[in-house]
Structures are given as structure tokens and as C-alpha cells.
Amino acid sequence: MAMMRYAEALNQALREEMQRDPSVFLFGEDIGRYGGVFKVTKGLMDEFGESRVRDTPISEQALAAMAVTASMTGTRPVLEIMYADFMPLVLDALINQASIYEYLWQNVTMPFVLRTQGGGGAGAGAQHSKSLDSLVAHIPGIKVVAPVTPADAKGLLKSAIRDSQPVVFLEHKLLYNLRDEVSDDPDLLVPIGKAKTVRVGADVSIFATSRMVLESQKAAELLAQDGISAEVIDLRTLRPLDLDAIIGSITKTHHAVVVNEGWRFCGYAAELSATIMDFAFDALDAPVARVTLPDMPVPYAEPLELAVLPNAARIADAARATLK
């Protein structure tokens, strides 16, 4: 075990997997010589060379489409898309290419990982602060993961690289400097499709993704001061969902709050809410509460940005409201 930052944990995962499997290669903008704008790929070009760690032109559409076919022909590409806000540029590759071939042709695999980072809170403005989880989670055939802790970041990235199908790997710009203990066991994987209960509670279940897990944990502290026992579940994988974890928790608490940093309308939280009603309607003692970004752009100035981002206080308020 070693204490390391989230970005370092990702770096370690990439290094270990590249050492383990020569078909793994990285490409993306600024990831080589510079080591990535968030330093996730730092030092890897020196270790693995310019063929396996490629700086690319600013060509997201082609890069994503290339990742699809490169993965079909014997390599395991890991593509970095610098901001989740650029995901619309790669959607054709995901929707019209990656999502169809396993079904149409059946004898192909597409072991590529598309890493990107999203979310607000860093003053990056309306084109560099979004969480577009629902856009990718909407697509059949694409797995979507969003780790919160450094340990999960490492374990899930390793699982994603070894997976035989496309994985979109969602990071968050405010998580890169988060420090925590990470195992140095190169064979330790975190399975895709398994949620994690990060706080056990009895009165209300809070289901959260990415950085919102941290806010939900703070919300649980606030609720505890009121004598409310909140359970916090880090979904970790956005698709496929860990239904057992969701149903199990609601069966216990009968109250659900779903938290996602994306937009509300047709958002990821909406899907969670609908899924809960599909599978646990009769266990609900109150409507599912959603805590999301309002349906508007993320503003720039600090008080404006803080006003739209979901936070612990809003999550706690939502939990209290469901319990009223």
C-alpha cells in the first residue's frame, strides 16, 4: 500500500498494464511529451516510446473512430479525450460504430478505453465543466465507469483495459489531487459493474456518481447531526448498473436520493430514478429525489458556479424532504 494521488493511481494502472501487455497503447492530445494536462500519463512516453504513447493532433472525431477499429485489429488502445465537454465530437464513433459491431458481426471484440474527465468546480466555464454521463451511458454496448477514490481509479482502469468491450472511463478534474492509499499489487482489479457502499445507513439511500459521492458522504454527516441515518452508495459503474446494490439498499431504507453532476432532464439521475421504480417501486415510501445540475450552462464566476453545482447541503435537503 502506498499513499498516492488519484492521477498517480491512474498513471500506475496505465504503466502496469502497458508492462503487462504490449498491445496496450495510449494516444491523445498532449499526453506524450507533456504527460497529459492532468499529468495522468506522466513519464510513460519515456518508458514505452513514441509509438505506444502518442501525442495526437486535435482530431477527436477521428481519434475515437480509430480507437474502435484499432481495438478490433489486435491492440488495446487507451484514448484520452481531454474534457468530457468534447464527448459530442466522439459520439459518432461510440453510437454508430462501437455500439453496433459486437451485435452485427458477433466475432469481434473492441477492447478500447476512452478516458475523459468532466465536472465543474474549477472555474473552467461552460465548455469545460460539464458532466455528460448520460450521453455515453445511453449507448448499448458501452460500459461506463466513474471511480472516486485513487484505489478504485487504479483498479477500475486496469479492469477497463483488460475488458474485451468498449469502456468509457469518466474522471473528474477535482479528484486528480485526492490522496489515499492504493495497493501496489499489479493484479488487484476492481470489477466493473459493482457498486460500493461507502457509508451504511438505515433511513435513506443516497446513490451517487463520481465526485458527488464525496458530497454525499458530507451530506450524510450533516444528516447524522439531525439523527438521520443515511446510506451512501458509490455506483462506481454507471453501466451496467449494480441492480442488486440499488434494490438491496432501498429495500432497507425505503427512501432514495440520486445524485449526479449532469443535467436533470433526461439525465443520468433520471435513469437511476426510473430504474429504482422499475425494480423497487413497492419498497418506496416516498418519491425518488434527484439532485443534479440545473438545466443550464455552468457559469464561470465562483459564486455563480457554486450556485449550480450539487453539494452536500442540497443533497441533505433532498434526503430530509423525502423523509418528511
Binding site: 498491445s23 497503447f25 494516444f27 509509438s51 505506444r52 502518442r54 495526437t56 493532433p57 482530431s59 472525431q61 477521428a62 481519434l63 473512430a65 480509430m66 480507437a67 474502435v68 477499429t69 484499432a70 481495438s71 478490433m72 485489429t73 489486435g74 491492440t75 488502445p77 459518432d92 464513433a93 454508430n96 460504430q97 453496433i100 459491431y101 459486437e102 451485435y103 452485427l104 458481426w105 458477433q106 466475432n107 469481434v108 448499448p140 454496448g141 458501452i142 460500459k143 461506463v144 468491450q165 459493474g193 453501466r239 451496467p240 448498473l241 441492480l243 430504474t275 421504480m277 422499475d278 425494480f279 417501486f281
Partner: protein, 326 residues
């Protein structure tokens, strides 16, 4: 370096062109009597491009195609019976009826695959070439695309990277003059799109796309260049689309004069003429009759084959993740 086809290869290209032509004609007939499904994009008149270019490749090489890919499929060695059954939506099709004529893929034959997002084949082949380069093998990727697809942004992105990284890639620009109904002169300020290659430090050549031998020669040079590690080539094959955009095309935008002109340069006639002296018309008739019989048998077999039955696709977890709530 060998860049001319042997007589046997030339005759085989002739045969394959005839197979494709017969298939297109049979599909046209079947469409008229309502036995096909959805639009079908025929490549009558363009057969020499796909057949001539793919004749150079081995099975380890990869090809990406377009929505108009029948000559590419047959050229790359995909079984005519599977292709025909797939086009007719049968369980016995190459893809079990799931894909249809625009999206046929056959991984074992290196045909991966048809692509009905115009321009989609260009980064697809570029990604395969990147994979080849990373793995360090001597295979090549070949990309078929049209003059319409050449106007997409992703074409520029892909060619830029192909030139930048000297990827083992051959771009075959199947220039059939039309993007759906719009003539290329209304889509591009230049007649010869291959001049763009200079901007990507890429070799380029303009070829008579109705001449299989010319296609073979140009492609052979390009493939050798790619295998040597000297980077991509853009081959602009000039040809003409004789049967409209698809079976649902109402027509009316192609001039009779142009059609007649190109009809005189029909690739099968060009090929026949080139072969007549060396193999004799009797042999050619024999080969063509064999091709007709092969296609007709494939059509009859497909029509008699069972339709596929639906199964929810749940092999991978992110497909059909949330079955209907009970």
C-alpha cells in the same frame, strides 16, 4: 516489385467483376418484384475499382468499405453466398441478417467492414493502420471512400494523421462523381481531389477507375510503399455511378450523354477487350457463364433460406442491461 497482374489474376478480376455485376442486376430485378428490403446501393460501372484494388491484398490486410461495397466484399474474398443471403436478410447471411448490405463485416477475411456513415470508413481504416504500426507487422489497411465522403471533416483528420505517422494505409477514393444526387463540382472547388495529398505529405495518383489493370498497378505500388513503412497513398479512381444512388433513387440529375459516354467505357467491356486476344472470347464466355451461374445459385439458395429469428442480445453486460421490470 511486381505491379502488374498475371494473366490468371486478370482473368480472376474479370470473373469477380462479372459476379458483382450479375449480383447487382439480380438485386435490381428482385427489388422490382418486392423481394428486397430497404434501399440497395448498386455499384454497376464501378466494379473495377474495388476488384482491381483488393486483388493486390492478402487476407492479413484490412479493408474498410462504404454503403456501396459489394465489389469490395467480393474482391476481399467474402463468400458470394453469404453476401447474397445477408442482402436478402436471411439467417444464412454473412452476419445472420443482422447487418444488411451496407454493414457486412467478415473479420476472418479482413473485411471490417461496410460503413453507412459517409466518411466512417476513413478513420476506421486509419485506426487499423495505427494498430498495424503499433504491433509492427507488415500488413496494410485499405480504405474505400467516395468523393462525397472526401468532404467530411473526419477525412481531413484521418489523412493528416496517416501522413503524419506514415501509417501503412492505402486510400482508394472511388470518385463516382456524385454525393447522393449532388455532382462533385457542386461539392468541391477542385476536380481532382488527390491534389490534397500534398498537404498530408502523401503520395497520390489519379487512375482510370474503369480499368482493373490500371487499378491493380497503382494499388500494388501503394501497397508496397505502405509495407515498406513509407506511408500512405491516395489513389483517386475516376469512375461513374451508372444506377443511381440507391434502388429508391428517382433519378433525373444525371445527363443521358454522360451515362452513354461512361457506358461505352464499361469496366467489364474494358476488361473483356483487354483479355480477348490473350485468352480468347470462348474462354471469356465460359468464365462469365460460370459467374452468372454462381450468382444465380446464390440468389436461389438465399431466397429459399430461413429468415432469422429474433433474440434479445445480452451476451455482453452493457447490452440489454435492464430487462423489463417484472
Amino acid at each position: 516489385m511486381k505491379n502488374a497482374p498475371s494473366l490468371d489474376e486478370q482473368l480472376e478480376m474479370h470473373r469477380k467483376m462479372f459476379v458483382v455485376r450479375r449480383l447487382e442486376e439480380r438485386l435490381g430485378e428482385l427489388h422490382k418484384v418486392g423481394k428486397t428490403r430497404g434501399p440497395i446501393h448498386r455499384c454497376d460501372g464501378q466494379e473495377a475499382v474495388g476488384i482491381g484494388a483488393t486483388a493486390v491484398l492478402g487476407t492479413g490486410d484490412f479493408v474498410t468499405s462504404t454503403h456501396r461495397g459489394h465489389a469490395h466484399y467480393i474482391g476481399k474474398g467474402v463468400d458470394i453466398r453469404g453476401v447474397t443471403a445477408e442482402i436478402l436478410g436471411r439467417a444464412t447471411g454473412t452476419c445472420g441478417g443482422r447487418a444488411g448490405h451496407m454493414l457486412i463485416g467478415d473479420r476472418d477475411k479482413g473485411m471490417i467492414g461496410g460503413n453507412a456513415i459517409v466518411g466512417g470508413s476513413i478513420p476506421a481504416a486509419t485506426g487499423m493502420a495505427l494498430s498495424i504500426q503499433v504491433r509492427g507487422t507488415s500488413d496494410v489497411a485499405m480504405c474505400f471512400f467516395g468523393d462525397g465522403a472526401a468532404q467530411t471533416g473526419i477525412c481531413h483528420e484521418s489523412m493528416n494523421m496517416a501522413g503524419l505517422w506514415k501509417l501503412p494505409l492505402v486510400f482508394i477514393l472511388e470518385h463516382n462523381q456524385f454525393g447522393l444526387t449532388v455532382h462533385h463540382s457542386v461539392q468541391s472547388p477542385v476536380a481532382d481531389l488527390s491534389i490534397r495529398a500534398a498537404g498530408y505529405a502523401m503520395a497520390a495518383e489519379i487512375v482510370d477507375g474503369n480499368d482493373t489493370v490500371a487499378m491493380y498497378r497503382a494499388t500494388a505500388t501503394a501497397v508496397e510503399r505502405a509495407r515498406r513503412g513509407d506511408g500512405p497513398t491516395l489513389i483517386e479512381a475516376k469512375t461513374y455511378r451508372m444506377q443511381g444512388f440507391s434502388t429508391s433513387d428517382m433519378g433525373g440529375y444525371q445527363s443521358e450523354a454522360d451515362l452513354a459516354d461512361w457506358n461505352r467505357r464499361d469496366p467489364i467491356q474494358v476488361s473483356r477487350l483487354a483479355l480477348a486476344d490473350s485468352v480468347g472470347t470462348e474462354r471469356l464466355d465460359q468464365v462469365e457463364a460460370g459467374a452468372v451461374a454462381e450468382v444465380d445459385a446464390a440468389v436461389e439458395e438465399a431466397l429459399a433460406a430461413p429468415l432469422p429469428t429474433f433474440e434479445l442480445f445480452t451476451r455482453s453486460s452493457p447490452y440489454a442491461t435492464a430487462p423489463e421490470a417484472v
